[in-house]
Symmetry: C2
């Protein structure tokens, strides 16, 4: 019986690194400007494809190295796999303004250069230009309660942010391999959390982190999150996991979310102030406009964190969900026995060309006054759970009330206050939303 | 990649159950009376072979079904394996009074009936009668710092309770299969904690405990022990272990130990008062006069708990040690990479005919005033650890001071007080020692 686990290989065997820093003759070349995708109803920015370009080119989505063709998308929607057989749960589509492209007289086989914030940034080798019905893609991406009764409780609609992303696409896509020609610089505070897979693997190796458990986040951590990290990390091989990787998903925000800056620095405060040793904990992020696809999203999270070198991944109740479209246990069901309606008769680590990251399916952490500590729903036998309510905590904070230290570490709260001063409000509001999608997380030189 | 773990088979494939309740014609049969083994120097009882008979006959030591022959002991001392190839770390010898046996004119092939507390209890099929040098067996059982430099720091001597057990043997042994003919009844409070392997497996199955982590104890649990159990149980397969099995070693005590009654009921209080749900936690015991063989003892613990149906076993620093004879990490070294000097070039789960129980090697739990909770040495980054000192806690208790609830749950402390009232002192003293070995944990009818 072999028990020692080591960092898995990148998914598909090889990390994608589509960075092409050769001299490019750009004079007179037509450029296509990357713009945020705007929700037609609310006018709010909901996606910026630059994030997908970054994530593809730095290997977060390995083995995916391109924007999808019609055939790729068909495979994904029918089998949740790429044509090469590797699992991929969601369509990655570079939808563009058809008129603008028509004017360029772009043809398949051409190279299209892309500009970000007015500066040369990347190019795509045009393999296919194809049209699609955004509504149809949106529905097929998530499925329907009829076809996906093992996961979905009600049909998705435009209140669901992931559905909206697909629904608001232009209907005209360019497919093909994409390369970055001009690596953007991450601004403060993002830059020190930037560990694309090649770097995170180097860092794990330097730290001797044979086993690493990934924590998905889009929250400033309360003590419940802290305990989830600390306790789930006892899963390992013959000893607890050596490292805990916080990987925040940074992308288009929703009103009322914590701001990304506070999420990253809030998690950093957990290690900086010793609640988890900095030697055992590191904070990173992935650029991605969340699709909130619950079990589908969890597959992408598994791919990303396997590529980063993680051996384990925490999955709680209602993982990566928005609203009550999905069964809150659908992600754990997927990682326990599979979800046949999405093509998984077995969990994603137990199928052909499966993932090599192990789930750590956990239930709930809460404060129990009898235990007088944060405890776990499967451990504590008192019926006095004081559950962490996101809206209660946000309510306290919005009222300017410092939450009790038993539910929020004071140093983590200080981070919220710091960014509150910067942005004038502790949470994402319309102003932050517009400003962020205009300024982005990067500078392009 | 298959990740689901299930209760392992008994070690060697089959649970031993040497209970022979046929009618036995006992009239006029010569009986040998089981008596406690007394330390020649101190006069204190240090072992009672009835415990080994119980543990063999109910399958705790499967596949061992007998008292060892000279050949068995040679195999154990040279290879830490039985002649059939299965791991067994310590000699299990039925040493008897040679003169008494001579008077009986006992021969190999005979059956020798044994009496406990004056009542018929068991018999042994005499396969061999053999003589040995107790000093030599004692030294070879544990090894020497020269030969076992990967584990031993100094030579064992008669201050070591396990060494004393072998050193005080009579030098004349009877080997052969042993059978219980009259099942003793455990007294209060032992009886409700009695789950020999067949019963514990039934109970695990009834509770749907696919994965169970074993906690070795000879202590009334403080909150550090409680957190060790709670946190180590996050090791599992794709979810934390379903069950936590406390298995106390009940046997000859040493002055200053907690009394066995308080150990069992103290652990029970942890679940009875909800610090760990009773649905997830159960308290049991094994009869065994501890040899304190650290890594060697840990192998026996692995065998016992695999036989009980456990999938995982906690191993902390200084597991099953007494004094500073062994390197405090020797058990964890054995379960991480093996201890070549004892015949293990690889850990016991990764050798031929190896164990199928998985180690959970953990470091230290302590109270941190900054975290304001019990935390883990590999997690907490503050340098303010308030370590659990057994002697400090015992000192408080002996002075009649109720320890603060952050280090001792009040309901657990109440158990200590309850037995203090019964025995007149909170810890094992000379009176308890003598009384216990006379009265034992059982009644024989």
């Amino acid at each position: 019986m072999k028990l020692i686990i080591n960092n898995p290989p990148p998914y598909g065997g090889k990390l994608i690194k589509n960075i092409d820093k050769k001299e490019h003759e750009l004079k007179g070349v037509p450029f296509y400007d990357i713009k945020p995708e705007i929700d037609k109803k609310s006018g709010a920015p909901i996606r910026n494809v630059y994030r997908e370009i970054i994530s593809i080119c730095y290997g977060f989505f390995s083995p995916l190295d391109r924007f999808m063709t019609r055939e790729d998308v068909d495979f994904v929607l029918n089998q949740r796999r790429l044509p090469n057989g590797y699992i991929f749960p969601l369509p990655i589509i570079f939808d563009v303004d058809k008129d603008e492209i028509k004017k360029m007289q772009l043809r398949e086989g051409d190279r299209l250069y892309l500009r970000l914030k007015g500066k040369p940034f990347a190019y795509i080798e045009v393999e296919e230009m194809w049209e699609f019905n955004p509504e149809e893609i949106a529905v097929k991406t998530f499925g329907t309660p009829e076809k996906n009764s093992d996961a979905l409780k009600k049909p998705l609609d435009e209140k669901h942010p992931g559905f909206s992303i697909y629904r608001n696409m232009s209907g005209f896509a360019i497919a093909g391999k994409v390369y970055i020609i001009n690596e953007p610089k991450f601004k403060e505070p993002y830059n020190r959390f930037w560990y694309p897979p090649e770097m995170s693997r180097e860092e794990f190796s330097r730290r001797n982190w044979r086993t690493v458990i990934a924590h998905q986040t889009r929250n400033v951590p309360h003590t419940g999150h802290e305990h989830l990290m600390k306790e789930a990390a006892f899963m390992g091989d013959i000893e607890p996991c050596r490292g805990i990787l916080v990987n925040a998903i940074v992308g288009a925000k929703r009103i009322g979310d914590f701001v990304d800056e506070a999420i990253l620095e809030g998690h950093e405060a957990v290690n900086k102030y010793g609640y988890i040793k900095p030697e055992r904990h590191m904070v990173t992020f992935t650029l991605w406009d969340m699709r909130y696809g619950a079990p589908l999203e969890s597959l992408l999270h598994g791919i990303i964190r396997q590529n980063m070198g993680c051996t384990h991944h925490m999955f709680g109740r209602d993982h990566a969900a928005a609203g009550d479209y999905f069964d809150p246990y659908s992600t754990q069901t997927l990682w326990t026995k599979g979800l046949p309606s999405y093509g998984f008769d077995a969990p994603p680590y137990d199928v052909e060309k499966g993932l090599e990251i192990r789930p750590v399916n956990v239930q709930e952490f809460f404060y129990c006054p009898r235990c007088n500590e944060i405890t776990y729903s499967e451990t504590c036998g008192h019926n006095e759970a004081q559950r962490f309510s996101g809206s209660f905590v946000r309510g306290l904070i919005a009222e300017g009330i410092k939450p009790p230290s038993v539910i929020f570490r004071p140093e983590v709260y200080d981070v919220i206050v710091k960014w509150w001063r910067v942005f004038g409000y502790p949470f994402v509001n319309k102003r932050y939303l517009m400003q962020k999608e205009e300024e982005l997380e990067v500078e392009v030189e």
